[in-house]
Symmetry: C3
Subunit: 365 residues, 3 copies
């Protein structure tokens, strides 16, 4: 694959990474602006390759690396080389891993030809930016807007009146239901469903009467939604996902959830309705959160953890039954239900021992 | 949005709600038949708005509400106003929340133009009622039947020989596989898969030989299936979902499951094969039920609860490890596996204490 | 349905089953080669039916069965009939259940007409074998290859450069993303997503920077992937699923997972990235496995079990909180967090009792 990969001048790549980082990545190039085309591990890198150091375990390999450009932090530079800088080009950077991420986005950028494929279905009344791409068998319904350079891939559906910003990718068979609002630079992996009806029913004589769900899903900028993840539209108000939030595959968000900015959730998380998750929180895979809970910014939930309540402070919470081998699980699980009686026995025994102790004391006197 | 919303005469709306409820909602209008077009919270409601009371906490707000029509129960009417009825129109109703649900269905009804879109794919041998709607890029395979006023949205697939009743909605990219049978007034949210193969294999020399799954999925009337929910076809007999049952998103039902009538399941529930869930049962989110279990009617399963067996009586069962902060989880989890030995120690200690007590008694004598 | 089913001569069916089993199923026909067309339970079987015995509970029913062909093991034959063989044809087979599975594959085989439907979208540069079937509204992108007799059903998407072997079925709305590699005789149930991006981000000033996922998903022969299951492409290296592995619905595999051969996973399993699962392992429904874990061949994971580590030996591990009725759960769960203090109390009490015992001994002396 490397053969077809574009070749960058190091200084040009650095300039474009700087732009992507909005100038926040601190970088300083030492040595000439070599040609680079890919990242490789330090020990495997050669001419045209970049290698970055984030883990001290690779320091020796990095010292000996034949990469054309090595990327490391100021402190690692002096620790590795002292005053004797090597003959190679060096990028000193305060976050080599972020440099790797930004630069990879440039190295692996694929440009799709703009335009609406003749076999796409763009309904009358939809507005597609001339620089956007709508592939064959993709659907854009009436009233929908597709922003500049956004790609709607084959089989994806953008519903009636949905608004999609710039530079988004909507992968095959993803569905953005009617009225969904999406910012810019968002990615929708295949099969995700944004804006299905929330789960709202009124109980009536042992039956369940559907309550129309008329809120929307509103998604900020730079959000990624995983494959087959589902986000329900709000009942009356909107379901909201904030800027920069990344949701892995097969996550479920209920109606009226409010997910903050720069939240990450691993796969298979389920969050019931009307719950909020504060900015910069992290949720482990397969965690489950009840409805109507407010999780403060900066909180963490461990994997496979059920959350049924929260205090008002950020916290790291975890809880799952430990896996055990063979019969041990059966034995331990059987004990769990006896815990309250064990505790009572322990208390009673404790009291009994103190009675005996008193008896002994009185006998001694 | 309110501007485009249809306006109803209160008495006309009440008559149509009565019809939707099959005459089971008890309603009595006091005062003139005002014009209404939406529901609002009591304190925000004004002319043309309806407000309903289900929660005593809003009684004062309701008393002061400027809604054109207020909906409450007989007992709340007298508690709030005694004999001094307000100047507003009042709907006395035995279930104001159900009224809200039914009336909202009328307020938010959207009619789609009937007919098969020229870019739909309706295979030869399919039968589509002339009042049904099949949108562009929707698929209806040979032998399938689509009932009156049913809507098959863009990207949805109705498989070979599938039968769909009247007034159903099959949202985008939902799949009803070959032979699926669906009643009337059912809703299939986007991306759900009805009638994928059950998971059946014969072990053979360390390998797994597929057993063709030749049963169907049979779904009753008034069923709703959530986004990306999957219901497998039966192995030989059918997988069955009863009338009025509501399934949230990302639920999995295995082959030969038999789900009763008016059951509700929250999102992310998984039920293995050949299990039955009785009428009017409620299953919490992310609950998991093993195969070959019969859960009696009227049972309840808590969220994130694993069910591996059941008795023969309806029950409410729950079980998940409590989430803890920081290191507390590690400590508690480590103890769980020692529970059997703790219990032994407790028993041994108890015995030892009684021995000492006997010693003391004999010393005293 | 039986009416349209093909009729087989027993000896012909046996020969074809033998072929399917690659000659590994040991079979011996006693009696004439009767006509057979379906399997039935022993007590319900009649002329033209086959009945097989795997469960001793059905021995008496089998003895009395009117099936045209009965299938059982050598030892069951002698146990049931001794030397007095019945008048019926008998297939003695070392694995009657595997015979049932293989034979059912032949009985329920459906042949689809080969060819690309005029309303399919096969992009220029895709290569479709002339014996393959690409249905209406199915998508095969540029550079993709579809092998002999493989079926791409309506709404399925085979991405750019994906390679699919022979005799596969890709059901409606399944997505095989760009570059996916698939062996032969694989089945993709509806809505599954193979090759969505892995979940990889670099932390940068409280935000998350996407790391392009440029590995692929590589799937062996005879693999089945369940409805709405998702398998992420690798970050740099590939995500791999070995020959003969069967994955149920709504499973999630993270980037760089390496699933061995002939593994079975029940529905709703989630496996985080860079984890390996050894050959012939079995994973119960809704089990969750953390990333970067190596599970040795032949291991087992119980249902609803969270795995956060493993040793280096195959094992059977299980762990989930037992479900309890009513208030019992609340009581037991509250105790779990007190387990460490209970253990301390128990230790302290134990020590105290020994002190008392010493006191008593010294008093006695």
């Amino acid at each position: 694959m490397a053969d077809n990969r574009p070749v960058f001048q190091a200084d040009e790549l650095i300039a474009r990474v700087s732009e992507l980082s909005k100038g926040r990545l601190v970088m300083r190039l030492i040595g000439p602006s070599v040609e680079v085309s890919r990242f490789m591990p330090p020990q495997a890198a050669g001419e045209g390759d970049m290698a970055f150091l984030t883990n001290a375990a690779y320091a020796e390999a990095m010292k000996a690396s034949k990469a054309s450009l090595i990327i490391l932090r100021e402190q690692d530079l002096s620790a590795l080389f002292g005053d004797a800088l090597p003959e190679r080009s060096i990028l000193v950077c305060d976050n080599p891993y972020a440099f790797f991420a930004f630069a990879s986005q440039l190295l692996f950028r694929t440009e799709l030809p703009p335009g609406v494929h003749p076999r796409a279905f763009v309904e009358e009344g939809a507005v597609v930016d001339p620089t956007a791409t709508v592939e064959a068998l993709a659907v854009v319904r009436a009233g929908a807007k597709i922003g500049a350079r956004t790609v709607v891939k084959a089989g994806a559906v953008v519903g009636e009146g949905a608004q999609v910003g710039e530079d988004c990718i909507i992968y095959s068979n993803a569905v953005l239901e009617r009225g969904t609002v999406v910012g810019s630079r968002c990615i929708f992996q295949p099969g995700c469903v944004i804006g299905g009806d929330g789960f709202g029913f009124a109980p009536f004589k042992g039956e369940w009467v559907k309550i129309p769900q008329v809120g929307r899903v509103v998604i900020g900028d730079d959000v990624e939604i995983g494959a087959n993840t589902t986000i329900d539209r709000g009942a009356l108000e909107d379901t909201v996902v904030g800027d920069g939030t990344k949701l892995d595959n097969q996550i479920q968000l209920g109606h009226n959830d409010r997910i903050g900015r720069h939240v990450v959730m691993a796969a298979c998380v389920g969050i019931a309705g009307s719950t909020s998750v504060g900015d910069h929180s992290m949720v482990g895979g397969a965690a489950m959160v009840n409805g109507h809970i407010d999780i403060p910014a900066g909180s963490g939930i461990g994997p496979a953890t059920a959350i049924t309540g929260w205090g008002d402070k950020p916290a790291q919470k975890t809880g799952f039954f430990p896996a055990m081998e063979g019969r041990d699980f059966q034995l331990a699980a059987a004990m769990v239900s006896r815990l309250p009686s064990m505790r009572k026995e322990l208390k009673a025994l404790s009291k009994r021992v103190e009675e005996l102790a008193a008896l002994i004391r009185s006998a001694e006197e």
